[in-house]
């Protein structure tokens, strides 16, 4: 019941939107298509749904080819047996909640008793059973979102597509809806493709993240893997915050390899061989540790800014290699202009490419 795309390409005129995407979106997982707007993630989803016609390639949904460039295969959206949650929720304003949710079943020609039962189950699951007779537009944004979810789960389509489903909700509601979608997924074990531009949302909801950049998937993996081992500067900066060090030298010493930076700074190194030219170093802000003595450790610096955000403090530290972002959990009461020393472990310095 997985979704497979092979060599998927799409162009608007001369402008390519998808550049040969070949991915398997695994069965019963939440696959998150992540990237900034215009990167091709929504286009991928719409091609899978049949709302856009790709330029070439092949799409298989649950083992069935629904699109193929050559020889041509085209299954219209209504025959693809998918469900989809749209960014605007797409709740039909001229229908009641019940009518909205029951439409996929009516389209499939199911009997009345069967429809009533399935719709009631679905509404129960999203806690909207009491609102069945309500006009769909008389609902709040969060409730409309849940109607859209109910419409997806009411029929037993194996694949659910979600196009930025939470982007129109306020921050609190967004977080609780995330949890709802995850809970729903644990119960129903459907294959979910989830498009978002919000990296935090992606990391919290995904089994697997597909990171898009300019019409390509540039990295995929579990959120943890991608965060810990970004392969490129783009991946490092899109998922979380990162200190990128562009200029360094890999030096072999008697005590093992070191990264030597301008200003006489030397960082520990776990890389056993000389990195390829154009490589950069990446250190996540929380990987820096403040040392006990001022100015000791691998780098000395002065605190420029402090930003208290509750459970942690974010610092900007001016050092010989430029300004560094440093995050400390809880933490001491450091102030601007304090002299500090920073340390980092060799395995927390990641080698990335441009």
């Amino acid at each position: 019941m997985s979704v497979v795309v092979e060599g998927l390409e799409k162009a608007y005129g001369a402008h390519p939107v998808l550049r040969s995407i070949s991915e398997i979106f695994e069965e019963s997982e939440i696959s998150v298509l992540l990237g900034p707007s215009g990167c091709g993630k929504t286009t991928t989803l719409r091609c899978i749904a049949g709302l856009e016609r790709p330029s070439s390639g092949r799409i298989k949904v649950a083992g069935r080819v629904v699109y193929q460039g050559a020889p041509p295969v085209w299954v219209p959206p209504e025959k693809r047996r998918l469900s989809m949650v749209f960014q605007s929720y797409a709740i039909w304003p001229h229908m009641s909640v019940f009518e909205n949710v029951s439409l996929p079943l009516r389209a499939a020609g199911l009997g009345r008793a069967q429809i009533n039962e399935a719709v009631n189950d679905a509404l129960q699951m999203v806690a909207l059973a009491k609102f069945a007779e309500r006009g769909a537009t008389a609902l709040s944004g969060g409730q409309q979102q849940r109607v859209a979810l109910a419409r997806c789960i009411v029929s037993d389509t194996p694949v659910i597509l979600m196009d930025e489903p939470l982007s129109n909700l306020d921050a609190k509601l967004r977080v609780s809806m995330r949890a709802d979608i995850k809970a729903m997924q644990r119960r129903l074990r459907r294959t979910i493709l989830f498009v978002t531009h919000d990296q935090e949302e992606a990391m919290s909801i995904a089994d697997a993240v597909y990171l898009y950049h300019d019409g390509r998937v540039i990295q995929k993996g579990s959120p943890r893997e991608i965060y810990a081992n970004p392969s490129t500067r783009y991946a490092a900066e899109f998922l979380g915050r990162a200190n990128i060090i562009e200029r360094f030298e890999w030096v072999e010493t008697a005590l093992g390899a070191r990264f030597v930076l301008p200003g006489g700074v030397s960082l520990p190194c776990a890389v056993p061989h000389r990195p390829a030219p154009g490589s950069m170093l990446c250190v996540r802000p929380e990987k820096w540790r403040f040392t006990e003595a001022d100015g000791s450790g691998v780098i000395a610096g002065d605190i420029l800014e402090t930003n208290f955000v509750g459970d942690r403090v974010e610092y900007v530290v001016a050092t010989a290699i430029g300004q560094l972002s440093v995050t400390e959990l809880g933490g001491a009461n450091r102030r601007p202009d304090d002299r500090v020393g920073l340390d980092v472990s060799a395995q927390d310095i990641k080698l990335i490419t441009a």
Partner: protein, 568 residues
């Protein structure tokens, strides 16, 4: 918001065929009449082969009567546009921005003149203020006031026309005033401008585009008016271009070349006005229109709120109440001002076979034309808004072309297209339908495409993913959502067609005489009593549809939370 997307899956299939059909429709019914005017004005169609000629251009350009007609048209249209703009803007401000007593009801009433056929308004004002015989002049004379009104003059004509065009300006400017963010004015006051300075420096520039639009609209309507200038200008032979076109059409044989050149004049004038408006507005954006409903602070007029109220009442009296009263009085008299009134006269005038048959013709023509124009309009809107088909923008441009075009000019074009066509269209009722549909489908397109743009494409896409085929999606999702605009367009067109005179007067024949032609003939023979009865009936039709339209829109707006359909 996401950009609107087309239905990908509709690219294939029988769709290009439908587009081809639409293209053919637009060319035959919209483009051909325009081309025909141009062609017939400069090409001689004798018995021999067609050849270029300057004969008609020379006739018109050297004829004193045509220069006079042009002069009259300009003076009266510009004057009327000024009167309408002045009145309309004033009333817009009174209703939208002051605490005038009864402004809600008064604003509603002040919009009603739009639904009074121009011909009918002219007839009423002829009865009210014709020199000497007009009832107002009789009242003035008998009370010894040494002033008299004269609607059979340039000033009288432009005043009456301006009066009936004022509501158009008022509606446009009032909408602009209402959609303006009041914080723009509040910011000016906080910055130290007093109320007058705020009005001059902030409010006026912001609503200037709306005022200009209103002025241009009234000008383009004014130059195309036929009934009003004929009724008011005939006795002193103050003839306009439209009157001259009509006179040429009555010659035996009709002077088609001159009609074409005069129609061309009208087309050029309306194009010029529209172009001028665009040039002046240029890139000025309408950012005041945010779509949000603001509640601007009202100006407190103190005792003045009764004065503005009285002014608004006076407007309603002069455009609606007095005209209705005078038409009633005239209709109930056996002959004009016999002093004896009897209901039997009204019913007598309205119960003849002539009335019955022309009314049937009008209704038949209007129903068929309104239905055809609305259906085609919906189709074109859908193609323009929802597909990526090549040529859709050209389609929209062409269909909207006649919207500011004087009806009589378009009527001349339609006549010229079909008069030599092998198909037996000229001289039948069909030619009137073709003219109506060609000229007015633009209104249906505007109404329904605006409404279609409000329907988020995801509503349709969602239905497709849920298992609805394209046609079912259109009929179950799209159509119900834009239904109010479709019904509104139909009602509007129907009420237009029921009283249309300026095209019909060029195209009708004995078998396709409409009710408006019957009324026109009654004026021709000077039977004002019968004319008043007919006018009342036409006015009743117009008002009835205005009220239906209003009621319909209130219900449509309210029904979002209204009665809920029952589940399966």
């Amino acid at each position: 918001m996401m950009p609107f997307r087309a239905h990908e899956s509709l690219r294939a299939g029988a769709f290009p065929v439908a587009l081809l059909g639409l293209g053919f429709f637009v060319i035959a019914l919209v483009v051909a009449p325009l081309v025909a005017i141009l062609y017939r004005g400069i090409v001689e169609l004798g018995d021999g082969s067609p050849g270029l000629t300057t004969r008609y251009l020379v006739t018109v350009l050297t004829g004193f009567i045509y220069w006079t007609a042009l002069f009259n048209t300009l003076v009266i249209s510009i004057g009327a546009a000024l009167v309408a703009t002045l009145l309309g803007t004033t009333f817009a401000w009174i209703f939208a921005r002051t605490d005038t007593v009864g402004r809600g009801v008064l604003e509603y009433i002040s919009q009603l003149p739009i639904f009074i056929p121009p011909f009918v308004g002219a007839v009423a004002w002829a009865l009210l203020a014709a020199p000497r015989s007009g009832i107002l002049n009789q009242l003035l004379a008998s009370s010894g006031v040494p002033v008299s009104l004269d609607v059979y003059s340039h000033v009288g004509m432009l005043f009456v026309i301006g009066l009936y065009l004022a509501p158009y300006v008022m509606m446009i400017v009032a909408a602009s005033l209402r959609s303006m963010d009041p914080s723009l004015e509040e910011a000016a006051q906080v910055s130290g401008l007093n109320r007058l300075q705020t009005a001059v420096r902030v409010t006026a520039p912001l609503i200037a585009p709306a005022i200009l639009s209103g002025a241009v609209l009234s000008f383009t309507i004014a130059i195309g008016l036929f009934g009003t200038p004929i009724v008011l200008g005939w006795s002193r032979q103050i003839l306009l271009l439209t009157s001259r076109i009509y006179i040429s059409s009555q010659e035996v044989p009709p002077n088609y070349g001159v009609m074409a050149v005069l129609a061309l004049y009208l087309v050029l004038m309306s194009s010029l006005a529209t172009w001028l408006q665009r040039a002046v507005l240029g890139s000025r954006s309408y950012t005041t229109i945010s779509g949000k409903g603001f509640r601007p602070r009202l100006v407190e007029l103190g005792g003045g709120k009764w004065v503005t109220s009285a002014v608004a009442v006076l407007f309603a009296v002069s455009t609606i109440i007095a005209p209705i009263a005078i038409l009633m009085a005239a209709a109930l008299s056996r002959y004009t001002w016999s002093g004896e009134f009897a209901l039997a006269n009204l019913f007598g005038a309205l119960s003849t076979d002539d009335v019955w048959s022309t009314l049937q013709t009008s209704i038949r023509l209007s129903v068929v034309s309104a239905t055809a124009a609305t259906a085609i309009g919906v189709l074109i809107s859908w193609v323009v808004v929802r597909t990526r088909l090549r040529g859709r923008n050209l389609l929209e441009y062409l269909i909207l072309l006649p919207i500011s075009m004087p009806g009589i000019a378009f009527g001349v074009g339609v006549m010229l297209v079909w008069i030599r066509a092998p198909a037996p269209v000229y001289g039948t009722a069909l030619i009137i339908i073709l003219a109506f549909v060609g000229r007015f489908t633009a209104y249906a397109v505007r109404s329904t495409s605006a409404s279609l743009r409000q329907v988020h494409p995801e509503l349709e896409e969602s239905a497709r993913v849920c298992g609805y085929r394209p046609l079912r999606t259109f009929s179950r999702i799209t159509l119900p959502l834009i239904l109010p605009s479709i019904v509104a367009a139909w009602l509007l067109l129907f009420s237009f067609f029921m009283t249309e005179l300026s095209m019909v007067v060029i195209l009708y024949t004995a078998e396709s005489r409409t009710f408006s032609v019957l009324a026109f003939e009654a004026w021709n023979v000077g039977d004002f009593s019968r004319l008043a009865s007919y006018s009342l009936l036409q006015m009743a039709v117009g008002m009835f549809f205005m009220i239906v339209l209003n009621a319909f829109f209130r219900r449509a707006d309210g029904s979002v939370d209204g009665p809920q359909p029952t589940p399966v």
